[in-house]
């Protein structure tokens, strides 16, 4: 009886937090826009006229097939609520789209699925923590500035892979490793970064037969979704081998004779070796997946929207290492420093549905900082990297157990 009553209170509190998150998101989403979101929507709108060929003709079509299919499906679902002018987005200029009187309606209905998926992701991650921590985690996510910036305002397509990554961790937690492999394959089909977790997942299995079977299940959505586009040279050029997707390999150490060591590859394999050794005592697939992602962000000129990949880890640290607030404050300071010192499209320009002229404005901060802006941005990147590395180390060292694994009170 007592337990049932307590459960009802917790559920009520969770609903309260989710509602709060939904309201905040609905208010922000309707009045903000980002260049990436606009361009991806425009590219997706070419799908009905020429299929994948028409999509990958565009040099900015960076993402794998599933991202565009999902975007198109969501647009199709929102169809009854969108304005007739929306269907001209792929033929209109940016300012014409933004100053259209129906922009708010279009933004609301186009962004709503992103918001709901993000809230579902937060809920899945929170459900993998103990009851006490899960409430705190959910609240921290719902009001988190990185979440509000990257998903609600920016409408980052990474919301799809992270959702399926969360599902994968959820099933791994339920000891359903086959489902976990499948959903990790789906996540990697949206964007390739979840692929980094696959070796950890596979090597956590004991038998070779299991490993092969799980690999096939992983490849099914990952390769299967890309088959329709593999024959298109534009897909290879603009998406699979695009320079923008290779930024993670940019950090190198010169070893002479025109040879370099790629830092990310070194760090990733060091992690992998440590994982294999440590696996004899404890399996920490979830932790190592996030460690791989944090090392990726720490040593590459990441796009600001990628910070969403690490949000579960950042919040985990925030909840479990309450006394180490300085690290968290400095991480947010560095992150929003990068955003504020970037081009206006990443900060003030995102409010252009309210005042379209902001789309054409230059970031006033850049005038103040002058040429020092590059130095300041680099300092912010370095500080962010330091905070991420330190957080990862603390979680690795102090907890000495798996993260996001059902914890009993």
């Amino acid at each position: 009886m007592y337990h049932r009553g307590r459960l009802a209170i917790i559920m009520g509190q969770m609903t309260f937090i989710l509602l709060l998150g939904l309201i905040i998101r609905i208010i922000i989403a309707t009045f903000t826009i980002n260049w990436d979101f606009l361009r991806i929507t425009q590219i997706t709108l070419n799908f009905p006229s020429g299929g994948l060929f028409e999509i990958y003709r565009d040099p900015l079509s960076l993402y794998p097939v599933l991202t565009y299919w999902t975007r198109y499906a969501l647009i199709w679902l929102a169809k009854p609520f969108l304005s007739p002018s929306f269907w001209q987005w792929n033929k209109s200029g940016d300012l014409a789209i933004i100053s259209d009187v129906y922009i708010f309606r279009n933004l609301f209905f186009l962004k709503l699925p992103f918001i709901l998926i993000e809230i579902a992701t937060a809920y899945i991650f929170s459900s993998l923590l103990s009851k006490n921590k899960s409430k705190l985690f959910l609240l921290a996510w719902m009001i988190n500035p990185i979440a509000l910036y990257t998903i609600t305002a920016f409408t980052n397509v990474d919301v799809f892979p992270i959702f399926f990554m969360a599902l994968s961790l959820y099933f791994l937690n339920k000891k359903r490793s086959l489902s976990a492999s499948f959903f990790l394959g789906v996540a990697s089909a949206y964007k390739f970064f979840p692929l980094l977790g696959f070796p950890f997942l596979i090597f956590s299995l004991k038998k070779s037969g299991q490993k092969i079977y799980h690999t096939l299940i992983f490849l099914l959505p990952f390769i299967g979704s890309q088959i329709p586009a593999l024959a298109l040279p534009q897909y290879w050029k603009n998406s699979l081998t695009a320079p923008a997707n290779r930024v993670i390999l940019a950090a190198t150490v010169n070893i002479g004779n025109n040879k370099v060591l790629i830092l990310f590859v070194i760090v990733y394999f060091l992690l992998f070796f440590q994982y294999l050794v440590e696996m004899q005592k404890i399996r920490r697939v979830n932790l190592y997946l996030f460690l791989a992602l944090s090392s990726l962000l720490a040593i590459s000129a990441f796009n600001v929207q990628w910070a969403y990949w690490l949000l579960p880890l950042i919040l985990y640290y925030q909840i479990y290492f309450v006394k180490e607030k300085v690290v968290i404050y400095l991480l947010y300071l560095a992150y929003f420093g990068i955003i504020l010192l970037s081009q206006a499209a990443l900060n003030i320009g995102m409010l252009s549905p309210i005042a379209p002229t902001l789309w054409t404005m230059e970031n006033p901060l850049l005038r103040l900082t002058g040429k020092d802006v590059i130095l300041l941005i680099n300092i912010c990147y370095s500080l962010f990297a330091a905070a991420i590395i330190y957080m990862s180390y603390r979680i690795y060292q102090e907890k000495n157990r798996e993260i996001f694994q059902n914890e009993e009170d």
Partner: protein, 225 residues
């Protein structure tokens, strides 16, 4: 502080400016203090020394200002920004911006013909004979071109090539000078006017938001009990 006034963003092609190929765009200023123009510029001669003349005139064809730009000041493909002293009482007045080539060279006469042919081709009015393909591409590498939309996308003005009115318009944006308080006031007025034009959505939106907030308050009260 500058705020956007008018714009035409659609672009299907480019039109060249060179000997005998002067481009002009007329536009209506919707606010006082016209103070800036941006054009989509394609400059094949990075670091070049040729000059182009910009002229802003009023309805009576009186020159308001005139200036020269060097190729060296322009990028390969960029939005060229030119800010100038604010024109007082510009609201609802028609202006024209003319861009012309300000140099003479030995090839002027032959280049004029080739550029006219290329512009006619880009306007879908003529075709380029195969034999002159190489010459035309050579000439194109020597002159500036501006973004142009073939359809009549801007109702308050028109583009002109050597005085001949074209069907479409150049790609351009105009700005007016304002203070911070007027900037905020004008943005606010336009924002609320746009909200009022989509009544059905905003009725739904505010009712939904209100209902969600009521639900939130109810949950909070339940928690209190």
């Amino acid at each position: 502080m500058r705020r956007i006034d008018s714009f035409q963003e659609k672009q299907d092609t480019t039109l060249f400016i060179g000997p005998g190929n002067t481009l002009k765009q007329t536009f209506l200023a919707r606010a006082d203090g016209l103070a800036g123009i941006r054009l989509a510029v394609y400059n094949p001669k990075l670091g070049g020394t040729s000059k182009y003349k910009l002229t802003l005139s009023n309805e009576a064809n009186q020159i308001i200002w005139q200036d020269y730009i060097l190729e060296a000041n322009l990028g390969w493909a960029e939005e060229f920004r030119y800010d100038f002293e604010a024109v007082p009482e510009s609201e609802n007045k028609l202006f024209s911006l003319k861009v012309s080539y300000a140099e003479e060279n030995d090839n002027s006469e032959s280049d004029r013909e080739v550029l006219s042919l290329v512009n006619s081709y880009n306007l879908e009015e003529a075709s380029i004979p195969k034999e002159s393909g190489d010459i035309s591409s050579l000439v194109q590498k020597n002159y500036l071109s501006l973004g142009y939309g073939r359809g009549d996308n801007y109702a308050d003005g028109a583009a002109f090539l050597e005085g001949r009115q074209l069907k479409g318009d150049l790609v351009f944006k105009t700005f007016y000078k304002t203070t911070l308080s007027t900037f905020i006031k004008d943005s606010g007025v336009q924002f609320f006017s746009r909200i009022r034009q989509d009544v059905s959505f905003f009725t739904f939106y505010f009712i939904m938001l209100f209902s969600l907030i009521c639900l939130l308050v109810r949950f909070k009260m339940l928690r209190g009990k």
